[in-house]
Symmetry: C2
Subunit: 190 residues, 2 copies
């Protein structure tokens, strides 16, 4: 878990002993591709930190289609924040997109962690703050661009991610159908 340590170091100053203690509050989990970490309708027990790999969050709409709302790659956190905070049923599914290594913590452990290591309040404050900032930007893009522009924007901003992820997930994340993405790509190609 060297990567988690490096990540924490970007926000807070801790020594080896503290790090060992902090890490002890988490469970390390390994997943294959397309394994489920959380299911819609089940109590949202865990907050996940992606150490290696990629997760996606999605729900199933009334037509039975999976709508991806978020990806999490290395050094990102993911859960249904609303449901985790209240320990209620999750509104989302979380699934690996690739083989992944994930740190997991439950609410009670997080509370104990914050109690024992107050510096982690600062850490999580910063993480949530960045997460809010990202959400604000995300929402702006959704209002500013039409589907074609969203794809163009996304593929120029994260070309390496486009390579990494199947296209139908990109389409799902950008909020349109795989067919329409094909059409857009055909148009851009010509």
């Amino acid at each position: 878990m060297e990567s988690f340590r490096a990540h924490l170091d970007k926000f807070i100053k801790i020594n080896d002993e503290e790090y060992t203690s902090i890490l002890s509050f988490f469970t390390i989990l390994q997943f294959k591709k397309k394994e489920n970490l959380m299911k819609e309708g089940e109590i949202c027990k865990s907050l996940f930190f992606v150490s290696v790999g990629c997760l996606r969050k999605f729900f199933v709409n009334e037509k039975g289609v999976e709508q991806t709302t978020e990806f999490a790659i290395e050094n990102w956190w993911m859960t249904d924040t609303f449901a985790f905070e209240r320990q209620t049923k999750s509104d989302f599914n979380i699934q690996t997109v690739e083989k992944s290594v994930v740190l997991s913590i439950d609410l009670k452990s997080q509370e104990l962690l914050l109690q024992k290591h107050p510096v982690m309040e600062h850490y999580f404050r910063m993480v949530y703050q960045k997460s809010c900032a990202a959400a604000e930007r995300r929402i702006r893009y959704l209002y500013e661009f039409n589907r074609e522009e969203l794809y163009l924007q996304f593929s120029t901003q994260f070309p390496w991610f486009i390579q990494r992820i199947p296209q139908y997930l990109i389409a799902s994340f950008l909020g349109f159908t795989p067919e329409y993405l094909s059409e857009i790509r055909a148009k851009l190609r010509s």
Copy 2:
């Protein structure tokens, strides 16, 4: 500023002396309807807390139309989080929708506040966490519903807000044109 105290009390335990000290880091501002608190392109200096009234955050799209992305009513915070954190140019405008009373704090003051009152780290962690939770829900709705359903959803969930705000701002917030909102309302009426 009794309302701010009551709001803080929901998250943290502080005495009168601490509260007085905390409040001293803020500036109290009064605004009339449609006054500007922040402008796109200017350095994002302030984080705002709405004590009374209502703010909206918007940007101007390439067609010159104002797109509202967020409202803040009593006990909500608002800024361009990304720009505030980095003290860079704001990507959004912030304007009052009604006559409002607002607490304002700049980044340096917030840092001093957090230093002097570590309990505020916890407070802001909770606030940002809730904000993230709201954003996750918001994004889900944007993916789940078409415009008509968005309006239906919004108007049944926040009927009191629909009363409070002019319709063209509702349309802007939900991401469609006032004309289309009229059409939806006509359809629902019949």
